[in-house]
């Protein structure tokens, strides 16, 4: 190694060490200052009344108190009891997650403390990793003692979900159960504690929220859809505004753009749009009122244009951890109770392609969450249909019982549709089947898998022709527009990932319609001649391959000749020398 290289390396190392030291010093000083600013946690010195963490969104409600419930329970005490009890559940859940009793003595006493501590320790000793979460509580007060120190209540239909993994991390059980809990709480040292808690058979269904009637809402009749009493076949498109797709749609919501686009969709002879509600952008558990208003505005405008809307919920929500289930519940509650009476909604699509989360999360957990959400959705909005946008016909065979319309996406060769559809029909013999997404990108570059508009047209015609022969309730293309920008969170960063996503529309970036746009209307003429096989050879990728092959071959020939010439020269030199 040269001296100069060695010097450079040493200098680089010295600079790196100096930078790390400077960063450590600044960070340490900042932490020290922050520590002085904060001081001690009050809870470390005082007996703080327990509070429910602000990010805990468990559903809580109270039934009317029993007629003879002893002393009248004042609102402050009621809130304290509620907070203690909810926090007690949270501490149990956290203890299971931690694998050791954690903070239980603040919320439990007597036999309950002993039992719950033993249960947590037993699970840990058995090598089980348990994740548990309670999502809903409905209290009924039976007794509040005269001196205000004893409470007996029933917590009705407590919904508890758990995931059990063995020591190797393998899923053992994913379940959601409902049960009543008879509970006795005592006031000790000024704090309420759970003294007894006995699990009992659930006493009945939750009180159904009062949803407004929706006479114009879509219904199902056998394997068909009906809207306004008439048969309805979906002919639609998945929709984002062209200039503001995905994460820019709702923050830059523009009613004029929506009106223009819905008119254009209507003009294409379509009757349905499928839209997406991004979970985080809508505020998570605390839904942003402005976003709600935007969604309401879009639905109103769609209704004016006589378009139906499939609203896809929880878009880009990838967190299936049990402790955060209630967060999603609150968004669901807010959205569904707000729009339960809106007849422009064809169906609530509970999640887009949730099966793609299987590998990361585990299919049983994905299914358990979807079942949970579907059950809640029916209680919040009994008027509208439910569906789930599975990524393939095979995936759509899951949770058939949980939905009204079985929706599948299809991006495979059209010839494979019949087989996948038949298998799905066998799995869901009595449910309407909807093709929620299909399409073909017209991104055609030097990368493989490029397609031309002619191929897109042929694919649309082929797929729709095959679908006509099946008993599907309709189709929705992906998507209305080609987009200039695709967020990295959607497909990735590489050009071969974003390119196809950007050019899957039926309307080009310049606003003109691709030929496929004319093939989506119910009565469209699908008699499109297939693209000849040789045409693919004219795609940039194949031209590149051909060119590369020619260059490569030429190079090889040239190299071979040069080597041969050199060899001959060497041989001639040898002969001369000899």
């Amino acid at each position: 190694m040269r001296k100069t290289h060695l010097k450079r390396i040493i200098w680089a190392l010295l600079i790196a060490v100096a930078l790390a030291g400077a960063w450590g010093a600044v960070n340490g000083a900042a932490n020290l200052l922050a520590s002085f600013e904060r001081g001690a946690e009050p809870a470390s010195a005082l007996n703080i009344v327990p509070n429910v963490p602000p990010d805990l969104h468990v559903a809580i409600s109270w039934e009317p108190d029993d007629a003879a419930s002893g002393r009248q329970l004042d609102p402050l005490t009621r809130s304290q009891i509620e907070a203690t009890y909810i926090r007690a559940w949270l501490q149990v859940n956290l203890s299971y997650q931690k694998g050791a009793p954690h903070g239980l003595t603040t919320y439990f006493t007597g036999p309950a403390l002993a039992e719950v501590s033993a249960a947590v320790q037993r699970a840990h000793a058995d090598g089980l990793a348990i994740e548990q979460a309670d999502t809903a509580h409905r209290f009924q007060l039976h007794l509040y003692s005269a001196e205000g120190a004893i409470v007996a209540l029933t917590d009705h239909n407590v919904t508890v979900a758990h995931v059990i993994r063995d020591g190797a991390g393998a899923l053992v059980s994913v379940e959601e159960t409902q049960a009543d809990y008879a509970v006795v709480l005592l006031l000790e040292d000024g704090l309420w504690h759970v003294r007894h808690w006995v699990r009992q058979a659930a006493s009945g269904a939750d009180r159904a929220p009062t949803a407004p009637a929706c006479p114009g809402c879509a219904t199902i009749e056998g394997t068909s859809l009906r809207v306004g009493g008439a048969p309805f076949v979906v002919a639609g498109v998945n929709y984002y505004p062209q200039a503001t797709p995905w994460d820019t749609f709702w923050p830059q919501y523009d009613p004029a753009v929506i009106d223009r686009d819905l008119s254009r969709i209507k003009g294409l002879g379509l009757n349905t749009v499928r839209i997406f509600v991004p979970y985080e952008q809508f505020g998570g558990p605390r839904v942003e009122p402005a976003m709600l208003d935007h969604l309401g505005d879009l639905l109103d405008r769609a209704q004016t244009q006589q378009l139906m809307v499939i609203v896809t919920l929880f878009d880009f929500r990838a967190d299936y951890s049990l402790l955060h289930w209630p967060d999603a519940d609150r968004q669901l509650e807010t959205l569904l109770t707000r729009f339960a009476g809106h007849s422009a909604i064809l169906a609530w699509d509970l999640k887009n392609e949730p099966d793609l989360d299987d590998k990361r999360v585990g299919a049983p957990i994905v299914d358990a969450w979807l079942n949970h959400i579907a059950s809640l959705a029916r209680s919040y909005d009994p008027n509208h249909l439910l569906t789930i946008g599975w990524s393939s016909p095979a995936a759509a065979a899951r949770l058939v019982g949980a939905v009204d319309v079985v929706q599948f996406h299809f991006y495979a060769p059209a010839a494979e549709l019949a087989h996948g559809y038949a298998a799905l029909r066998a799995a869901a013999p009595a449910k309407p089947l909807l093709l929620g997404e299909f399409g073909l990108p017209t991104w055609n570059t030097i990368f493989p898998n490029g397609h031309t508009e002619a191929e897109q047209t042929a694919y649309y015609a082929d797929l729709r022709s095959r679908l006509r022969g099946l008993d599907s309730v309709g189709h929705l293309a992906w998507t209305l527009y080609d987009f200039a920008n695709v967020p990295a969170t959607v497909a990735g960063r590489w050009p071969w990932q974003t390119g196809p996503q950007a050019q899957m529309g039926i309307i080009r970036a310049n606003g003109s319609e691709k030929p496929a746009a004319a093939l989506l209307a119910p009565g469209a003429d699908l008699n499109i001649p297939p693209v000849p096989g040789w045409a693919r050879l004219l795609k940039p990728f194949w031209l590149l391959v051909f060119g590369a092959t020619v260059v490569e071959s030429g190079g090889l020939v040239w190299a071979f000749r040069r080597e041969r010439r050199k060899w001959r020269e060497r041989e001639a030199a040898k002969a001369e020398y000899m």
Partner: protein, 418 residues
């Protein structure tokens, strides 16, 4: 470097093919067992009893492992057993069935799943059954109430079964006993405990079957006092600013004749002739409160009231006679030419019993001169006499009329100044 370029191009093609999804996928294997499992378990079980749960599926391959999750009130227990001849047995030991309540049993084998429910019943109540009484003090007016609560539990600490009967045994302050029956509902049994009308200690105990426990006590206290009167003794004292009158309430009783508890605060409020209020706190002893009221210095009527718990007595009026001296006071005036002064002596100043008035009692002298001008002088009594000395030079020649007043006593005389 043509050969290097060739290699780079080839590598690029391979990388592109891999990155754009040309890699083959491994087909997934289907489940060995799917669908439903039959889970058999008794519907009910006594706490602390072992139980066998069976998962069945006729077409299950031998050796396929079944997991059984038992979700109880507190615990999530996991058991494993392989299928043999279509059956997998799980023996839940006694220590796993000690917590009463609903247990949800979920069996999994591959993707097959089955459910069952088992209710573990608590055993009979055991010692001790502790009565919980609250509040610990009640007003004995027949209207106020407390609660008597018991949470009987079995040998494993489970609250006993709904409907389990128990009895609250109660002994009232008057010795009367009663038994109130109750049944366990929502994990506990309770009765409203209405107060009686006799103040004192009420004692409770609870029995549940053969189980007993300690006693609990409840104090029934007197309620608000009924109307009451005041008395004062002695009466007829002079307003000498010295003597004390004992104020006393009549026995303080509530509407049911219960005497106020010792130490109950009673506040006496006295309004003197001069309009000055006096507040005198006192505490009851044996149902009566006493306070001492000092005689005012001015004669007249003092009105006294007493209050406790907002209840006010009837007013008591105490008349303080003038004082302290009574009768005619001898008055002697002498001129001492040698010293050039006039000495006026009043005395003896005698009180009601013929004793000297207290030292320092003020004597008010009034002198009316020959020109009709009146002079007032005050002198303190000393040794039963009050002596006023005036310089002779300050007096006009002529006849003076001199009067003295000490409380209710008075005297007069004349003096000729040369």
């Amino acid at each position: 470097m043509p050969r290097c370029g060739l290699v780079y191009v080839s590598l690029l093609v391979v990388l592109l093919a891999l990155a754009t999804g040309c890699a083959s996928r491994t087909p997934a294997h289907g489940p060995t067992l799917a669908g439903a499992l039959v889970v058999r378990a008794p519907a009910a079980l006594a706490a602390g009893e072992p139980v066998t749960v069976v998962a069945e599926r006729a077409d299950a391959p031998d050796g396929l492992l079944v997991t059984l999750v038992a979700q109880g009130g507190y615990s999530l227990l996991l058991y494993r057993s392989p299928f043999q001849m279509g059956r997998a047995e799980f023996r839940l030991p006694a220590e796993d069935t000690q917590v009463a309540g609903l247990v949800t049993l979920v069996a999994h084998a591959d993707t097959a799943e089955g459910h069952a429910e088992l209710t573990i019943s608590p055993g009979p109540p055991v010692d001790p059954v502790t009565p919980l009484v609250g509040p610990h003090a009640l007003i004995a007016d027949g209207a106020h109430w407390g609660s008597a609560i018991a949470i009987p539990f079995d040998a494993f600490g489970n609250p006993v079964a709904e409907g389990t009967p128990l009895q609250f045994h109660i002994r009232r302050p008057d010795g009367a006993t009663e038994t109130l029956g109750a049944a366990v509902t929502h994990l506990l049994a309770w009765r409203r405990l209405a107060s009686g009308t006799r103040a004192g200690r009420t004692t409770l105990s609870v029995t549940a079957g053969e189980a007993h426990g300690p006693e609990a006590n409840l104090i029934e206290t007197p309620g608000w006092p009924a109307s009451f009167t005041l008395s004062a003794s002695p009466s007829g004292l002079p307003a000498d600013g010295r003597q004390l009158v004992t104020l006393r309430t009549a026995p303080l009783l509530d509407a049911y004749g219960n005497q106020m508890l010792d130490g109950t605060l009673v506040t006496f409020a006295a309004e003197t002739p001069g309009g000055q209020p006096r507040l005198i706190p006192a505490y009851t002893i044996d149902g009566v409160a006493e306070a001492q009221l000092q005689a005012p210095t001015e004669s007249g009527v003092v009105t006294v009231r007493a209050t406790l718990y907002g209840v006010e007595s009837a007013p008591l009026q105490i008349v303080f006679a003038p004082g302290p001296a009574v009768g005619t006071i001898p008055l002697t005036a002498r001129i001492d030419q040698a010293s050039g002064s006039v000495s006026i002596e009043a005395g003896p100043l005698l009180a009601g019993l013929g004793q000297f008035v207290p030292e320092g009692t003020p004597a008010h002298f009034t002198l009316v001169g020959p020109d009709g001008v009146t002079q007032q002088r005050e002198v303190m009594a000393l040794g039963g006499r009050a002596t006023l000395t005036l310089p002779l030079g300050e007096l006009l020649a002529g006849e003076y009329q001199i009067r003295v007043a000490v409380g209710a006593g008075a005297g007069q005389t004349r003096l000729s100044v040369p």
